[in-house]
Amino acid sequence: MIEFYNVSLSYNGKRILNNITFRILKGEFVYLIGASGAGKSSILRMIYFDDFPDSGTVIANQFSSAKITAKEIPYVRRSLGVIFQDFKLLPDRNVFDNIAFSMRVTGVKPKEIRKKVLRMIAELGLGPKRNHLPLELSGGEQQKVAIARALVNNPFILLADEPTGNLDPVASMEILEILQRINSRGTAVLMATHNYGLIKKYPHRTMKLENGELVEQ
């Protein structure tokens, strides 16, 4: 599913990731931890090809960072579900349309979209907020919309970047339950998080970034 071979990454000449190699298999659930600025989001960014390694290769869903073309990138991204750390909601669309957008992109029939989006909204308890714009949502509600958008397409792989940072413990556990469930249906999950409590409660393989190196725990 996802493979990193000797991946290094620098910004402005400062090396963030140093020769990182790992592999996430179909259906795996993996935590990615590490201090602020360790490079967790950077690893995720390379998986959805918004960033490219300085050296080494990233392979996501059969596509290699060395060979992928600009035309192919949108199609890889559709097969991934990404929960962005800063949500990245479209500010001019309401909750329904934000979630629906990632399905519309793939050309799903409107009826099908409606059905699935409404189910997702219900599952995350966003029902009363259906027509709110992102600005009219609380932080946690925005985060839930971001989660819903990532999940609605039934992705092969879910990349979750700090998905519970704005959620209360109860909501966080609910989200983890959802992630567990979709994982059990075969979706691989890579989740960057600072919430060690959750890791303890839902233990899975955990990778830790430290000084640009990856340590399995």
């Binding site: 949108p74 559709r78 479209l90 001019d92 957008f101 992109v105 050309g107 958008r149």
Partner: protein, 285 residues
């Protein structure tokens, strides 16, 4: 269906960015008004020039004592000529009147007989009103019986032709200039409205939208902006022309193709500008 969706998205996008759209469309209207006014000006200038050239006349002077048969013969010859629009006969008596107007003296006060020659005033059809053609024709007419001289306002015509050439050159230059300015202004404006939404374009890309999918609503938007602007500009021009015609200058000429031109121009530039503007934000790292 996907196209319908793009149209829907385009319209929704305009609704969401209402302020930007209002500013952009109103700039387009202003630009179109500029262009439309220029076109109307050019049209009327052309009309004026045509009217002016109508005033170019050739005078064919007969011998002062030419026989009536010769005069009739010359008249017939002139009227047969396909280049000629009208022929007007000026008798000796008419000439005397002209003399009085010109020199403030009745010729019969000075002389007992009228020494002034009869003549024909000839007006050519539009395409033949050039110095070159007139010179050619004049040479032929000189050989008609008892024709003394063929006179025309060589200087005036030359001056006119000279001026007209300058004026037309100036008008074409102004037209080009205004067109280029219009295109650039509309492009800049639309580009700014797209620029204000560059973060949204980035998010769409991250979620897996293809270039085409992102671009299309913007193209639709550019098209609709052009359409709306053209409609408003046409209405303003229409009523503007009406007002000018009624209260100021009743001879104003208008051509419906100007409306069509504005529409095509606005829609075209709107579409192309939107396309070019979005492209800049679609380039994937």
């Amino acid at each position: 269906m996907s196209l319908l969706f793009s149209i829907g998205e385009g319209i929704r996008g305009m609704g969401k960015a209402r302020l930007a759209m209002t500013l952009s469309v109103s700039s387009m209207i202003l630009t179109l008004l500029l262009l439309g006014s220029y076109l109307i000006f050019a049209l009327n200038l052309n009309q004026w020039i045509t009217d002016l050239r109508e005033k170019v006349e050739i005078e064919v002077f007969m011998e002062p004592e030419a026989r009536q048969t010769s005069i009739a013969q010359v008249k017939q010859a002139l009227e047969k000529q396909p280049e000629i629009e009208t022929v007007q006969y000026v008798s000796k008596a008419d000439a005397a009147k002209r003399f009085e107007e010109e020199f403030g003296q009745n010729i019969y006060d000075i002389l007992e007989s009228n020494p002034l020659p009869p003549s024909f005033i000839v007006q050519l059809k539009e395409p033949y009103r050039s110095s070159k053609k007139i010179m050619e024709l004049a040479a032929g007419w000189k050989n008609l019986p008892e024709v003394d001289e063929v006179v025309y306002q060589k200087m005036l015509l030359a001056a006119l032709e000279n001026y007209i050439r300058w004026i037309q050159l100036g008008a074409v230059a102004a037209g080009l200039f205004i067109t280029i300015i219009s295109i650039s202004l509309i492009y800049n404006t639309i580009r700014l409205t797209v620029y204000a939404r560059k973060d949204m374009i980035y998010i769409m890309r991250l979620v897996g939208a293809t270039e085409r999918f992102i671009k299309r609503p913007f193209l639709v938007e550019g098209l609709i902006q052009g359409l709306i602007a053209a409609v408003f500009a046409s209405l303003i021009v229409f009523y503007g022309v009406k007002i000018v015609k009624t209260f100021i200058y009743p001879y104003i000429t208008m051509d419906n193709r100007i409306y069509v031109g504005m529409l095509l121009f606005a829609v075209g530039i709107g579409f192309v500008s939107a396309g070019l503007s979005v492209r800049k934000y679609l380039r994937i790292v």
